[in-house]
């Protein structure tokens, strides 16, 4: 029972992070029908940028919370700029190209960003400072840290903010209209390029925050951290139904829970043959199962609806 509650807590933490990253995938897919495989690297850049700002600021004597806030703000700003540039340079010229072209470009961008990060930050694992005191609180026989509470709370806040933007504002309405039919939205006066840029920028801001969260959660950051995380978040987006915002949130949380519970019980289930280091297997097992049995995901709509 203790394991169960503990893994639920861990799963919710992890799932919140996946959800934030999955939103970036699903928003871009919803508007462009493109899987931006470089999105995971944006998460990585966010984490490393935050680290690069927090350490020297804290070292210079700035109070810790201020240094952390500055680091997060810098990460968000850097990632927003990065997302904007990625779309402009890598995807916009291929807007009318066959679908395979931007997909390959996405993988190329991902590699370029990884190499760039390696040149800037080196190949080493960097220890990521503890953002919040790590004293655990006991709940129901399990433990929850302030950081975990913070991660879940911030993720919920950001998702609520995004939902408000998309569903309740003029801009969000234009985003949904463009996702459905960019030509017709254009006739209403919506500049599709503007909306596409905005989508990349918003998704990248979420990714930046997710990057700080994931590094704070595991205590490390490195140039290669975005790849697996990106794939998992992509899985979460597919699980929820790619193109669907609620689906991405749900898929992220679900995937986090599946992974955490799987890792918690895999040892017992296999008699100790497989350990929790097989955690990553679950995400991809889920991806395969979803693709076989429900390719449109939990909340996905039929693809044919896109006129």
């Amino acid at each position: 029972m203790d394991t169960f509650v503990q893994q639920i807590i861990n799963g919710l933490t992890l799932g919140s992070i996946y959800a934030l990253v999955a939103l970036g995938y699903t928003m871009v897919y919803g508007i462009l029908g493109l899987i931006n495989f470089a999105h995971g690297e944006v998460v990585m850049i966010g984490a490393l940028t935050a680290l690069a700002v927090i350490k020297p600021l804290a070292g210079a004597g700035l109070p810790w919370p201020l240094a952390v806030l500055a680091g997060v703000a810098a990460a968000i700003a850097a990632c927003m700029a990065l997302g904007f540039v990625i779309e402009r340079v890598a995807y916009r010229p291929l807007r009318n190209a066959p679908r395979l072209a931007p997909l390959i470009t996405a993988i190329g961008v991902s590699m370029v960003l990884q190499q760039l990060a390696m040149i800037i930050w080196g190949r080493n694992y960097h220890s990521f400072p503890q953002l919040l005191p790590a004293t655990p609180r006991a709940i129901g026989g399990a433990q929850i840290t302030d950081l975990q509470i913070m991660i879940v709370a911030v993720a919920i806040l950001m998702m609520a903010g995004l939902a408000l933007l998309v569903n309740r504002t003029r801009l969000g309405r234009a985003m949904r209209a463009t996702a459905e039919n960019p030509q017709i939205a254009g006739l209403m006066g919506v500049d599709a390029n503007h909306i596409v840029s905005l989508t990349f920028v918003i998704g990248s801001a979420l990714a930046a925050v997710a990057g700080v969260m994931v590094s704070a959660n595991y205590g490390i950051a490195h140039y290669n951290m975005g790849f697996i995380l990106g794939l998992k978040a992509f899985t979460a987006a597919v699980l929820g139904g790619i193109g669907n915002l609620t689906g991405a949130m749900l898929g992220g949380i679900l995937l986090g829970l599946i992974e955490a519970l799987g890792a918690g019980y895999i040892g017992d289930l296999t008699g100790g043959f497989l350990g929790s280091d097989y955690q990553d297997v679950f995400a991809f097992f889920v991806l395969i199962v979803v693709l076989i049995f429900r390719p449109s995901g939990l909340m996905g709509e039929k693809v044919s609806e896109r006129a």
């Binding site: 003029r170 309405r173 234009a174 949904r176 209209a177 459905e180 039919n181 030509q183 017709i184 939205a185 254009g186 006739l187 209403m188 006066g189 919506v190 500049d191 599709a192 609806e305 006129a307």
Partner: protein, 233 residues
């Protein structure tokens, strides 16, 4: 108000519109009729900058060639596309709000919304419903109402009768007539030549990408060739 000179449109090397010239004056309703594949829709799409075209398009004295599609509504041109093109996953109210996207004059927008609801009361009844759940006729009404929310001076209508039951077609044309009566200039593309010519004051007949006849609607309705080819007589 609108003038096209030597307009040419081609898809991947195949010419759909082969150098046509026509004009629409302020306040009139002009019909562009012709068989399926005559190039009518391509013409409208070219006017709305949805298709690349050669030739000159002048709207309110301004050359449109350099303008992107999303710049048109702000200048007073709206297109109700073939197949209606409502945003299926947006509510009726949101679709109408999208029509006013380019405007910032909130008070006037509310007034226009009321006007549209008066003209098309069905839309008020269904305002919270997703547009995709409306019937074809209701969607056509919504597409029309949405275009009106942009306060266009020129309205381009592409096959508004397509796929509708006769009773609904009648209703749609009644509404179009009411819109025209408010002073909106209309260029109407229709396969239903009789209906189109009965509503319009002038007409052009398109055949194989060319304009073959241009006359007053009354004369075209009486024209032997038109009667044989398009009115089934």
């Amino acid at each position: 108000m609108l003038e096209a000179i030597n307009l040419e449109v081609s898809y991947g090397g195949i010419a759909a519109v082969k150098g046509i010239s026509f004009a629409v004056e302020e306040g009139e309703m002009v019909a562009l009729i012709g068989a399926n594949g005559a190039g009518k829709t391509s013409t409208l799409k070219a006017l709305a900058r949805l298709l690349p075209a050669r030739g000159t398009i002048r709207f309110l004295g301004e050359e449109l060639a350099a303008l992107p599609s999303h710049g048109l509504i702000g200048r007073g041109m709206a297109l109700v596309p073939e197949g209606r093109g409502v945003f299926a996953r947006l509510s009726v109210a949101e679709n109408l709000a999208m029509g006013a996207y380019s405007r910032r004059d909130h008070a006037a927008i509310s007034a226009d919304l009321e006007r549209v609801h008066e003209l098309l009361p069905r839309l008020l009844e269904r305002r919270t419903q997703l547009a995709g759940t409306l019937s074809g006729g209701e969607q056509q009404m919504l597409a029309l109402g949405r275009a009106l929310m942009g306060r266009p001076r020129l309205l381009l209508l592409d096959e508004p009768s397509m796929g509708l039951a006769p009773l609904m077609v009648h209703k749609v044309f009644e509404t179009i007539g009411a819109v025209a009566a408010t002073g909106v200039t209309i260029l109407l593309v229709e396969q239903n030549a009789k209906l189109a010519l009965e509503s319009a004051s002038r007409g052009y007949v398109m055949e194989g990408g060319r304009i073959t006849l241009a006359d007053s609607a009354g004369n075209l309705l009486a024209d032997r060739r038109v009667r044989e080819a398009y009115l089934g007589e």
